[in-house]
Symmetry: C2
Subunit: 605 residues, 2 copies
């Protein structure tokens, strides 16, 4: 009896793992672990897209790998996932790309979910017409289908004459909800796709899903093209109101269309067979995508045009998917608590969990939801763009070369950059990490002032006062020194104060003590990269044992995928949106007081 040798493969930074047999490829392991690695050639070793950094027991480099990897990459431990054979325990680091951050949280949520999608494909053998049976095409189809349907779309009707006759009356009818969305020649039931979007202010993520199996086929993310019109929501609102609405709408549409192409290409699917899209975005992004002037969201009393769920024809929104396809926009709650927050909860807050939990979606605007005791209270705090690197002296977005972690080892500063590239700037997670380390070492007081102590030599004298040198001009990838300034720390403190004051108000409103919180969920791709202890050290989240703090990654994307896969989840989203009680902080008497109190870092335990 042969006992099969099984090995454990761990994928970082998602910390997801799989067990697989000797000789499997890393790509196969990634599939088992549901870590979506780009593989354009499907594992033939010809595209070179599945590059990962791997350590542990692996087979030798293949000819294909030698062809695709540069010597310095080989030296750094890079492999092609489809080629490298597992021979023992392996740790794989999936190189940082915007994509990955958006892919990591999904797969576990999907496992075990029985697809119950809004799309049905039905194969039909229709009787041919004759002078004795002159029924119109549509009537013939109606008679053959056992369910009534609406013929909403002209695009579908226009396909009828050619499709029916070329396919000699063997066709597949595609129903989206109770609408006939397409008619395809032959039996195409096995090709049935849907796409979920998380439309963020900065990053847009897309997930292609097989609606038959419920499997995630591919994922991609890209920068929202609207960022060229302003990185923050307020600038875009102003721009839209001042005549830029059409441009902003186009930019959003183009971003989505580019992603549709990308995820379909990666999975070998036709965009014309993507019959439904589910979209979770913050309220302002949704308005811009719909072409609705969001101006009133930006000024008191911050009223959106709509927050309810919408179903709209794909063609009306200009999405390059099935022409008769449907786009479902998840419901939102208020101007600054959007469908992304509802989707977060859909993914991360099961209806039957009655614990007291706090969900924080970190970003330029931090959305917070306090759940428990039969209620859901939400608010939004303007944290400012510090986490995205803006208004930070050497800030940058989380991209290769960004410092994402800072440690103090023996009085020396040690930095880690994304993709191990020479440092280019400081990411949001690096900012939090740096400030947390300095607090622990006593270099920053509770009020956030840099203060000398032993090791004061770490500080240089900068333009505006003392600065912590993170990378010297010679070490950095840009030829300029990368520093953390006093101002940067103040920015973080402001952001932290806004967030803390936010959840304190929610606690106040619901009469729950901070000690009663049983779990904290950090949502947003950003959450994956923030060290929980660092976040607790700087006071971004309440002080809880680490196991009660959970990074749920891009839960908004995951929620959108769930809503794509199961109609019941859409109903649940409506329920969540209705149940959430929105607390307007700007009108809240306690908020200002809490904010002032929160303008200091927590004591170091």
């Amino acid at each position: 009896m042969i006992r099969e040798q099984l090995h454990r493969i761990v994928f970082q930074p998602a910390a997801r793992s799989a067990t697989c047999s000797e000789g499997s490829s890393i790509l196969e392991a990634a599939r088992r672990a549901a870590v979506p690695l780009a593989s354009v050639c499907g594992g033939k070793g010809t595209c070179g897209k599945c590059k990962v950094k791997a350590s542990g027991s692996l087979g030798p480099l293949t000819t294909q790998e030698l062809g695709h990897l540069r010597p310095e990459e080989i030296q750094a431990g890079y492999r092609l996932a489809c080629q490298a054979q597992v021979q023992g325990a392996v740790e794989v680091e999936v190189p940082f790309t915007a994509d990955v951050a958006y892919k990591t949280a999904l797969p576990l949520l999907l496992s075990g979910l029985e697809p119950q999608p809004n799309v049905r494909k039905l194969y039909l053998d229709l009787p041919q017409p004759s002078l004795e049976d002159q029924r119109p095409d549509l009537e013939r189809l109606r008679a053959a289908l056992d369910c009534p349907f609406e013929t909403g779309s002209l695009y579908t009707l226009r396909q009828f004459p050619a499709v029916l006759r070329q396919a000699e009356w063997h066709v597949t009818a595609v129903l989206v909800g109770d609408h006939l969305a397409a008619l395809e020649g032959g039996d195409s039931r096995d090709r049935c796709y849907g796409i979920a979007f998380d439309l963020g202010t900065t990053t847009v993520a897309a997930y292609l899903v097989d609606l038959n199996s419920g499997q995630l086929l591919s994922a991609a993310a890209s920068t929202n093209r609207q960022t060229t019109y302003g990185t923050d929501v307020m600038t875009r609102i102003e721009r839209a109101h001042a005549g830029g609405l059409v441009e902003l709408r186009r930019a959003a549409r183009e971003t989505l269309n580019e992603l549709i192409l990308e995820v379909c290409r990666d999975a070998g699917a036709s965009p014309r067979q993507v019959y439904e899209a589910v979209l979770a975005g913050n309220t302002c992004m949704a308005h811009l995508f719909l072409g609705i002037d969001p101006h009133s969201i930006g000024v008191a009393p911050y009223v959106p045009t709509l927050v309810e769920a919408l179903d709209l024809p794909a063609r009306e929104l200009g999405l390059d998917m099935a022409e008769g396809g449907n786009v479902h926009l998840l419901p939102a709650v208020a101007g600054f608590v959007g469908a992304d927050t509802v989707a977060d909860l859909l993914a991360a807050a099961p209806a039957d969990d009655s614990r007291v939990r706090l969900l924080i979606d970190l970003g330029t605007n931090a959305e917070m939801v306090l759940m428990g005791r039969g209620r859901m209270l939400a608010c939004a705090a303007a944290a400012g763009p510090a986490f995205e690197g803006a208004r930070i002296s050497c800030g940058m977005r989380a991209a290769p070369g960004a410092i994402d972690r800072v440690e103090m080892v023996d009085g020396r500063v040690k930095v880690h950059t994304l993709d191990d590239r020479p440092a280019l700037g400081l990411a949001g997670s690096g900012l939090i990490s740096a400030v947390a380390s300095l607090r622990r070492e006593g270099f920053i007081n509770r009020r956030g002032r840099l203060q000398g102590k032993a090791g004061a030599e770490l500080f240089a004298s900068g333009q505006w006062g003392p600065e912590l040198l993170l990378a010297s001009a010679s070490e950095s990838g840009s030829g300029r020194a990368i520093v953390l300034s006093q101002h940067d720390i103040s920015e973080l403190l402001l952001a932290k104060a806004a967030i803390e004051a936010g959840f304190k108000v929610l606690l106040q409103e619901s009469g729950i003590a901070v000690q009663a919180i049983e779990e904290v969920l950090i949502a947003g791709a950003f959450g994956n990269y923030v060290d929980k202890l660092d976040a607790i050290t700087v006071g971004l989240i309440p002080s809880l044992p680490a196991e009660q703090v959970k990074g749920v990654g891009n839960a908004a994307g995951a929620g959108a995928v769930l809503a794509l896969l199961a109609l019941e989840k859409r109903r649940r989203a409506q329920e969540i949106a209705r149940q959430i009680e929105y607390v307007e902080l700007s009108a809240h008497l306690g908020f200002h007081e809490e904010f002032i109190q929160a303008m200091s870092f927590p004591e170091i335990a």
Copy 2:
């Protein structure tokens, strides 16, 4: 006590009359008689559009009339309807324009109809938002309206922010069916329009209706722009199938859009406040307008893509009306029995009339419906283009200068032309009239051969044999002689045979004897211009006492208006379409036999 002097005004050719008081204008009388006369200036005497030919007791010519009428017009009895004052009995001849033919049958049908349209306008005073009431605009609207509605259209949602705020929350919501079609600032309830179209192969007619009052505001007709791609249906089907579908669709759309502009301008209405359109067209025209390849209608077994009623967004069809408006396409029956026939019946065949009646819609394709004994049987016969002047040696469409009536007086030929212009050619009604006269005088035998008799000097020897001279080269307006040839008579006989064989088959199928027919309805604008006795003489319709033969004018247009005004009429249209049993003549064993038998003219009684 002053006894008001009342006078009777009769309008021709519609034979519609009104009673009005001394000093009223002809235009006022036309309004009372519901004869829609074009009046762009609204009765000020400045546009000169309301020119009519009037005789009887009228006041003297006004300065405005002297400015607009040419001396020869004054001599011929022309007046401006808005200027000429009624002083006694007056007979008015409404000059021939394509429009008028399409206007004449409507008004009586509409009188007494309680509008129950699909469009509702509701005026709302909304509470202003505040930090204490941050409800989204849409939710605010929902709360204020007492009925649930769908927000189908993005265009409507896009209006929200500006309209609500500019109008300071005093708005009018427009519901079309259960869809919110528009949101307008202030109270605009008094401006609520709908448009009915009869989309014919050759002519397209449009009727603008006030949906509040049910009043017909204006009407217009124009040539279907598709005629430049072929005058008959078959040519267009081929053209569409060979890559011309998009052009043909555009041509139809442009024709309709031009008409929308025209009827709105005439009535001083905004096209953006036309919220619904109802369209009756033959099946092929409907397919082309929808952009559906009609090829399968043109070849056996003549199967259309669809015949059922459709509701589609106006913007999807490219109609220049309210962006959130709805277009309702009336149901059809088969490839050659279209929604126009259903609309004919809607207007001319009340559900409670149980008499045996035959409706004939004369045109290139003649549709026939036999009603009675609880059934409705329909067929379509290819009558050929003779009635529209094609394949007739001097044929032309019914337009100014066309001979529409031919009489034999004392052995001499007397012709009447439309608008009394010098003769340019022979209209379909003129062809029938000429052949009927010749039959009565014995110049044509039953087989349709011209035969000498006394008066043989009327015949000239033409290229293909003897010809009847209708206007000499010097009399005609074109400088060329206008004749009726042996070939023309044969063409008419063919058309007549097809039609007669058609209704004979319907009688056969339903087991009804021709003598049992209690009423014949002639539909189509053409029907207004055909003399009933002439039609009986040549055998186009069964021989019935004149009072049992009714020209119902453009009943299809009238039916479309009814469906626009009352939802109940749309339900009735569906009922009619379902009830009609279609008889396919090409597959019918008896048709060929009947056709052979019908290839002779009836005996002269």
